[in-house]
Assembly symmetry: C2
Amino acid sequence: MLTERQRMILNAIVDDYIRSAEPVGSRSISKRGGVGFSPATIRNEMADLEELGFLEQPHTSAGRVPSTKGYRYYVDHLVKLGEVSEHELERIRHFLADKMNQMEQVIQHAATILSNLTNYTSIVLGPETFNTSLKHFQLVPLNENTAVAIIVTNTGHVENRTVSIPSGVDMSEIEKVTRILNEKLVGVPFSRLRSRLYSEVGQELGRYVGHYEEFLDILGNVLIAGEQEHRVFVSGTSNMLVQPEFKDVEKVKTLLELFDEQPALIKLVSATPGIQVKIGSENDHEAINNCSLITATYSIDGQSLGTIGILGPTRMEYGKVISLLDVISKDVALLYGKWYK
Amino acid sequence: MLTERQRMILNAIVDDYIRSAEPVGSRSISKRGGVGFSPATIRNEMADLEELGFLEQPHTSAGRVPSTKGYRYYVDHLVKLGEVSEHELERIRHFLADKMNQMEQVIQHAATILSNLTNYTSIVLGPETFNTSLKHFQLVPLNENTAVAIIVTNTGHVENRTVSIPSGVDMSEIEKVTRILNEKLVGVPFSRLRSRLYSEVGQELGRYVGHYEEFLDILGNVLIAGEQEHRVFVSGTSNMLVQPEFKDVEKVKTLLELFDEQPALIKLVSATPGIQVKIGSENDHEAINNCSLITATYSIDGQSLGTIGILGPTRMEYGKVISLLDVISKDVALLYGKWYK
DNA sequence: ATTAGCACTCTACGCTAATGAGTGCTAACG
DNA sequence: CGTTAGCACTCATTAGCGTAGAGTGCTAAT
């Protein structure tokens, strides 16, 4: 579809624009090493590329800027993946290895290091409990009418809820409930937990415990909640602001509003397996229509756990970010794997 | 120190400036209802107030702006606490009551509602485990060499850590450890937990379990970690940006950098009992030298649990915010109290 | 003690002209 | 026929300049 020279020119324009954030003119392309053509020739090609939709002109007498389609072609066919330097690798490993004793910490640290290394904003989605199974259940009474319900998944994730105890239930009954639930439900995937609870556990519970219907409802809610819990972390928000495309406070504002809305964020970065690049208007959310979002899922045993994403201006260092994400998502998966196995 | 008229004028200027964000001139004060003086008289008083350090002039021919000292006087002597309207009260109660089954959720919701009601940014510090005691300890093995250690405090707060199990320790030993720790340590305040662990628990553990020294170290770390965990939530970041003082992206950036740094944030809002107002340069952190921070602690039984803070421009609606904070901190405390008791 | 009047100061805003980067087109070139 | 030099043209950006307006400080009158 594109001639070799057109590809070369498109590549040069995107590279240049990524560096400079300024519309690139024919002259600067021509002066590059390895380009044996005069500005006039480049201009002709640029006019063609614009007609094909790969480039855009902010106004008549400005240079060209890549369009979404242009970036897309660049990402799909032209981009050279960056090498992750020894130094960077070491920083990643060091940072991820340091006193990691809580699931959430890993993913938070990953977010931090990513935003530091790239100078973009990182959005990470904590481990999903979807597709995981129950490892342990515990009810800890705090006083006569309140208890903490704790759920541990087979991936080591812990969820907890405060629940009220139906009046008239005593300590020994709570212990019985705990025991029965562990006997009947450990190892059951969360997706099937609820039906199991009402079918098998229900009767059993009724045999030993009064008020068991109320109890059942409470437990049902707890388990469901455990299933759907998501944790999003955003890191390096301020990095966005050094980009010239955000010199306008209005743009910053819409972006921050997005960051404040967890559900929207979650939807944005929700898992599509592997590494995904969404460029500019390809993004669903209007606030990031001049941003690009690169996401990578991390998984163990082919079971996708969560997502790591980098948000930057469309004019983003795709090669570098993609290779970095690749490394980190694998490292995170490895780390989880170590615990889990 | 100030004459009645000076107080009245200072009050008027601060009120006006809070509304308009623009230097206020003598004329506009004079035209107010209830002020029976001409602009010239006001001007004379304003000159005096400036000399005394309560007002400042951005440039020679502009109106006056309150200085930090001016705001301080306003807050200490002049401000009228706002009434919290029925409608607002209802929103608060509604929002806080809605499906609150996790400690962190309450405080997060409180942050959200606060930033919504005030249009400023809220910073809240989750319940401290300081001063609380151990309610329950649990070790859940995930596989041969990993387990999740779970700590529940008497306030219903749950902490968890992944720990590695020394090799050669089997299931029954883990159960023993769990049992012993619960027997010996439940009810002990976190501050004394560590010494207790090494003194009493150590020997007991040695009697039943091999590798008990390794175990002891691991448990020690877990308990300490539980003691110091802090959770900060920032909500309504974007609200800051509507304020004209943040039309400059640079200022926004320093602010966001602060928000990204949890330790600095924690230090900033850390508990001083009651309601505190820190105005402009009174704040330690440079990034918020033209901001005011109002904090309130929430506590049960006189035991301070955490902090709720509102950050806004120095030109902040002090009266409204203070009364709102008062209401919410009490509501949150009430909510915690309900569970706890 | 208060106020009207007035000269003075400084910012904000709009206008114009100059600058310069970059284009598109045409005609010449190999 | 592809490539390139030359040139007129476009348009954003910037600096310079003058005016309008808001507000002050001072003085003299009430």
